[in-house]
Amino acid sequence: MMKMIKKVLAFSVSACLILSVSACGDTASKTSTAAATAAATAAAPAAATTAAAAAKTAAAATTAAAGNADYKSKKIALLLAGSANDGGWNQLAAESAKAVASKYGCTVNTSEKVATTDYESTIRGYAEQKYDVIVCHGAEFLDVSKLVAKDYPDIKFVNTSSFEGQEPNLSGIDFGSYQGGYLDGAAMGLATKTKKIGIIGAMEADSFRAWVQGVTDGAKAMDSSIEATTVYIGTFDDALKAKQAVKEMAQKGCDTFTQCCDAAEAGSIQECDDEGLMNIGYVADRSNLGKSVMISVLQESGKGIEEAIDEALQGKLAAGGVIMAAKEGIISYTDYTGTYKDLLTADQKAKLQTVYNDAKGGKYISAAK
């Protein structure tokens, strides 16, 4: 009897495990055990579909009111290194994927929280299943995208936050990393009183380096005496680390901060709130995270991804690198918000508007320009 109970319970626990792996997508692949990795690898595209994406895909397939008959049969994959619910970088991409599914009635699968060790197996998994377009959202995927794209010349690969692509089928798209940083830095340069600003990044990939350079250049363009300090926290999830980073830089005199670390940004903004420091949001409107956010620079990567997928489906997307920025409507400012919304004088606000207008005209695309 006990043996039967044990068997039933063991089966139930295994079923719960499989269900929890399905529910959290590639969260399974975050733990670096052989069993978890093998399970994630074997079922990568299937197990990695989030419940929301699956529901949306089903709804899109059945309604397909605006569906294009040519694209209904198409399959598109989106890979995210972070959570599709982070309120910023990854969520924008996840929402654009849903929008494409609604628009065309095609199949769109999203893999979120893809661990570094699973990049290749996940991308290959989609390629083996003959997906038409595979979008890897983030510079961290680029090396693996290049490796896999060579083996599947008939599939279109898109890697965002990348300045380079690869013939014949990999397109790299940068969403104005330097320009967004420049606008970010310009706002910081005008806001800071101590002339010391703090920048928090998750990792030092090309796009992050460009963003940091942009922030530094934008701030110094407002006041050449400004000192910029950068801390990389090495994580997109650990809000406490971001909070600590702000605390450490504040002890060195920094009074204005910006950050690009997805879900971890809540920590840095909270520390700014707690200590009366100023914050400039980046990628999304971060005023919902705290009242210290004076203004945010929007990086509407979702729009860019939708356009890229459109062009890829039409066969018009060229291999190689392309930059989409303010001119294309990807980079912009939000309104002034929070405690410091009236901090800048009218002249300073006009100066910031000029910077933005210049950006829309094509300036500040890269450090050289």
Partner: protein
């Protein structure tokens, strides 16, 4: 200079507290012979439940209590699976981590927990410390007293060494291990709750970011003693704080090396101070009565 050292120590202690609670929880289970690789899952559950309950009751202490109960329930389930069904404890721990991540992600998206900005908070003193900081440090002493100066503690340690002898003395091995699992999980859950409601006022998916795994290393480094565990936690915390401080100093210190510091420091400390570590003899070994 002295102010710099004081602020450094302040940060090390303050930001190590969630890890300290998790490590003490893992310690409780490990001295009883139960390997808890699932501390990460228990901790994130504590973080989620802590902020939801704190928001619902308008009181962080109430939230912490509910988080402890929730984590304790998971601890009881963990205990049932390893004690009654004798499931491999390492594999089960990994499963609990996956289940913890999955469950909290699902609940977060269903109830928008990451949209909660907590209005209530712990009292903060002049040092910037909260009561759980002092409670955590005091808990180290309390756990030491329990493990080495009480009958319960001696029984717990005996169960981890040789459960058959304990059984022969007429003491229930199961009861002791269940108790260890529940108390241990509750401590881990409190650590998670303090992370989301004390040090931060928000929840974010996977915000524990591997602290549950570090807790295991801290317990091993500490040779399965409370004071050693505290030392392991503080060493890791010091490495963490140092890595950020070096970058914040603007010295151009390579960030990749800076981020490695806490892990390298832990490995070096393990090499120098953890030789002749005596694991509990029955650690990870399921016990069958009358066998």
């Amino acid at each position: 200079m002295s102010n710099s050292i004081l602020t450094f120590l302040n940060s090390v202690v303050l930001y190590s507290i969630p890890l300290l609670y998790a490590s003490l929880g893992v310690l409780f289970m490990e001295v009883a012979g139960v390997v808890n690789m699932g501390a990460e899952g228990m901790m994130i559950i504590g973080s989620l439940v802590g902020i939801m309950a704190s928001n619902a009751f308008g009181n962080v202490w109430a939230g912490a209590l509910i988080a402890m109960l929730a984590a304790g329930a998971f601890g009881a389930l963990f205990g049932f699976l390893v004690i009654e069904l004798r499931i491999n404890q390492v594999v089960l721990g990994v499963a609990f981590n996956l289940a913890g991540y999955g469950l909290t992600t699902t609940l977060n998206r269903a109830f928008s927990v990451d949209g909660i900005i907590l209005k209530c908070t712990y009292f903060k003193d002049a040092l910037g410390f909260y009561p759980p900081v002092y409670i955590g440090l005091g808990l180290v002493a309390l756990v030491w007293i329990i493990l080495y100066k009480t009958n319960f503690g001696i029984q717990l340690r005996s169960v981890g060494e040789n459960p058959m002898v304990v059984e022969c003395m007429g003491i229930s091995v199961k009861r002791l291990r269940y108790t260890a699992c529940i108390i241990g999980a509750m401590l881990v859950g409190f650590g998670g709750s303090f992370l989301s409601t004390g040090l931060l006022s928000r929840y974010a998916e996977q915000m524990t970011d591997g602290r549950g795994y570090i807790a295991l290393a801290a317990v091993t480094f500490g040779k399965y003693t409370p004071i050693g565990t505290l030392a392991g936690v503080l060493i890791f915390g010091a490495g963490d704080t140092l890595s950020l401080r070096l970058q914040a100093g603007g010295s151009g210190f390579p960030y990749q090396i800076a981020l490695m510091i806490p892990y390298v420091l832990t490995v070096v400390a393990l090499c120098f101070f953890s030789h002749n570590v005596h694991d509990p003899a029955s650690l990870g070994v399921p016990y069958t009565k009358n066998r």
